[in-house]
Symmetry: D5
Subunit: 153 residues, 10 copies
């Protein structure tokens, strides 16, 4: 997909380079712009769309010329096309395996608790927390999404 369709992803390299040279974590950046680290990482990968104010703050914390004045700020994300599916990277594959193994169970419980509808992945917040555990630390990954019932007409 050429830059005509989604020029924001064209600035991803610039963002990742600046982050690495400044030695910042996503959490550092998230605190500086008033958002969560997962949302910020998603924006770096072109999967979320910062507005002009957020671009201004990003530019400042990363020491870049103002991104909000860039033509790229006018385009919209093409989401979801970062790599192959099934994922080949083991970290991402485990999430995919979670959908395969527990997807039907999750669907069944959503229906039992809410009825005939879905959990929105648009009106949804995603967080990752580190939970210390003597038997080995744990990753707590949470999707908090709005329930949407199916229309009838």
């Amino acid at each position: 997909m050429s830059s005509a369709f989604s020029s924001f992803s064209a600035v991803s390299d610039k963002l990742f380079q600046a982050k690495a040279q400044k030695g910042l974590t996503f959490d550092d950046i998230a605190k500086a712009i008033g958002r969560d680290e997962i949302w910020v990482a998603a924006a770096f990968y072109g999967q979320a769309k910062p507005d002009a104010e957020e671009l201004a703050k990003l530019s400042e914390v990363l020491g870049l010329s103002p991104l909000q004045n860039d033509v790229s700020a006018q385009w919209w994300p093409m989401r979801g096309d970062l790599g192959p599916m099934p994922p080949t990277d083991p970290v991402i594959y485990r999430l995919y395996e979670g959908v395969m193994v527990y997807g039907h169970a999750i669907k069944a419980i959503i229906h039992e608790k809410f009825g005939d509808g879905i959990m929105s992945m648009i009106n949804c917040k995603v967080t990752v927390e580190k939970k210390p555990d003597p038997a080995g630390d744990r990753v707590v990954l949470t999707f908090d999404g709005k329930y949407l019932p199916y229309s009838k007409w």
Copy 2:
């Protein structure tokens, strides 16, 4: 895959029929056998393996002849093959979309917080909670998995 390879899935129909006729929810059954509703639903779909004691309790709460004495209790689950990928059902597709859209961000944060490793989907607990919200109730889906660092040798 014939019954030779995974005869437990052959009892899925029996379990689902009994549950429907008794009018029980997964939560009802989970409480009766001392497990969580998602794990119980996964077991119904052949994605988790109940032991003899759990089979005994399942048989009791569902009014079935003792499943633990069944030959099927000797086989192991073939996990992950319940339906097509990408999923065509909208509920399950939204989870898959979550992996596509937020997978790289989740990976980045896991690495920043933990190092070079993965979140286990084997040593992992999955829960679904209903969070009331005046703007529309929300689904809170949580994966709580152990962090596993990559070996070097």
Copy 3:
């Protein structure tokens, strides 16, 4: 997918047979149960979930024993798995071609008119109208779906 997972689709044959023997159109049935013909057709294909009252009316108009008392009434639809994608049937392929050819244009206009979000296919109504035209009648197909903005967090 066995009947354990979605027994409603198991009654599809019964519904289609009864409809053919009675010589009813979907519009006839839709009027009898107080819904639109597309929604009714979707329910026949297992893509929409009638409630107990709708099942009672369906049973009546089609001369079937009460479907609402059936165990099948307790399951949830597995949507979207009726045939191959890309579709091989020319009628359905034309809709798929519409997504390929006009999808990016539709996305661009939704973003320009609404912002960074999507048109819901859950909170959505679908209708098909016949528009007489001397140069050949026209099919007017409409999707009327709620706009959902992307969350930030």
Copy 4:
């Protein structure tokens, strides 16, 4: 696909850049050249073919040198190859999901209302309207296509 096969797409970048720098919407451009915004957006993505007069107007409104004199004006669109199918972008995926979930119902109603034939995606007009709604604005997407009956011979 190299420029030999479809050089119009090679001007897409130029068109998108000019539109962004002028700060125009597709509707602004559509009004200037006497066409609908969806058709104009489709042309920007190389999915519709403007004639010489339309290229002249496009050049004028966007401040570009006359596109109608360009060699690119002699080629024909290669339609439909803008991104992966199933679509990974959530906006376009929802349209695709609409085909999967409602495609058979739409086919059934077209047959009942028209007979054995299809809705043309060639002789077809596509529009997107914004319908204000207190419960959240709605997107109204319409396909208006000619009915074509199957030949017999």
Copy 5:
């Protein structure tokens, strides 16, 4: 696809058995019902839809009970799903190879002779003729389809 969706294909076996037992060619049947042999063969494979009169004639020439009174006569063909694509059978693969090797050339000539549009495969007649040739007989396969120009709006 179960019989709910396209019961005509369910009578294909009956048609093929009767044809074999009567020792008739498609051309014999075509002459008896007043259609071309390719169209008749397509109908046998469920790819064309005979009307009540044609079903009556088919029943007569094949010695079958009246097909037009059958419930199956109320459904519509699901076209295009007879076998794998790419085709594995060499006869059908050669046609597919023709599309791969000559498709772009055919597209280019259609555009040069007609403009921006397509050749309809709905309003289209297909014939196969045997052309004797001392160097080996030849198959002459012809598609005669209506030209459809693209809409603008």
Copy 6:
């Protein structure tokens, strides 16, 4: 596929550019070199191999330096890899749909008229004619291929 494997396709751009600048149709070029327009278009797309004499004539009519002296004249076409299958372009898709819908019928008639063998796509001529029709002009596409019976041994 790099230029090592099929450098003729490397001259396609040059041919298409020259044709566009001269304002010639494929038929103009075909008449100048003594071949049919479909064959010439196939050669432009690298799907047919012109010999030295044909390259000399092509060079002359297009005003190019002698292609027959080019190293590229020594390689052989890699046929069939111009675009995705199923085709996404609607013109080429209609041909593909023809194979899906009528392929089995064509196979059946070839067998009935000729026996157990195939229609060659190597010893085959392809033509496209415009047939004026008051109800809309028609495209007549013909494949004229040698019948090849299967060997026994």
Copy 7:
């Protein structure tokens, strides 16, 4: 593919059972009917079409009721659909690997020795010989196919 399309494959089981019970090799059968063992094995798998005389001999050597009087004798093979591609069985995969690794080299040599054309797989004989070798016996697999030059027109 149901028996309507290729009933010969329906007799494959009968042929294989009879061969096993008689304890015959393909070579035994080949000698009895006057054909080569590879061709006979291909016929058993439905990949070659025996005529009435060959069916009579097959019936005799295998002790079956006369196959030539069977309705199945009127259908035509659907070739090439015996298993997945890429093959998963190691014996067949090695042949496939041969095409991947040596296919371009074979193509290059065919072109250098014959010109722009192909080796026919229709007018082709296939044999397998055992060549004793002290370092381990060798399989000699030979394809002897007619060269077919590409048409020009």
Copy 8:
């Protein structure tokens, strides 16, 4: 795959260019270096690995600077990834069709003649011969591979 993984294929272009400019056939080159033409063609495509002596001879006959001193001489071939499978080029497709149509017959005869094992494609020689025939010349393609029995343990 970048040059890091298999830099020999990076010299393919150089080899093909030199061969074309010298006007040599693969057989000319094969005789000069003491190998068979198919093996030499395979080496040109990066599917076989010449040793230092063979590289020296290749350099000499093609008039290139000594390839054996090149860093590229230290890498190993990545075999089998030259083009799509199924092949789209008709010459290579016919070989693939041979595997589909005759693969099971070849497997059956190998087992009958040798037992439970395979024909090696590693310890294998491939040749192409031209066999003159008044009815049209024939291509004789031979695979001569070692039989390998399956281990038991």
Copy 9:
């Protein structure tokens, strides 16, 4: 694949049932017939071919009627087609992930230690050992395969 092609897999169910009813492990069976447990498990899944003597011992230890007298003893395994690839079951997927992640490294070391050739999967023994470890027991999986150098000719 019907029983005509590989009837041994038809006895898999019988073997698995008998093993479960006897309460035997693969190791118990392996010791009784003088083979390794992995080889025995492979045979149960139809991936290895027991000879007459091994079938006799298997029949004895499992209490089955003599399998060696069965017609099924005359067929050959169709290997490799037990489930989808990529595998969806997590146990088998981890092996597949091992090929993806470490495959190129393994290839590089095989070439450095042995030259241009492969590790045979035909002349290969596979074992699984349990290695106790206070930090958690370990699985030691070993492939011991013959090195095969590539032929030159």
Copy 10:
């Protein structure tokens, strides 16, 4: 995947070039940095992540400027995407074939020896040894991975 996502793979070329020019084996490098040759090869291919100390040693033994000071040292590997699956290279394909043919047997034995769980491919060491054998040297490939039992909750 651009360098933004995994810049370490961008240094692969540099590493491979230096290794070739120094004429070092992976074992030479492994000894110099205190790791195993398979792990080092995996790191060269971007499938393992060296830490700062290992990068320092790698830089030294290969004569490169200090890699540990490079921005690239801050990114994380995207594992598993080096080539197509199924693999086309015969060396890697044999490993893949091992998973297809022996995967179910390995799974069965792991379950019998350990219970319901998996062998970790994260906490796993991979080695390749050369075992001399008069009948031909053997490759001994070992995966030594931690057993992980499935959670219940």
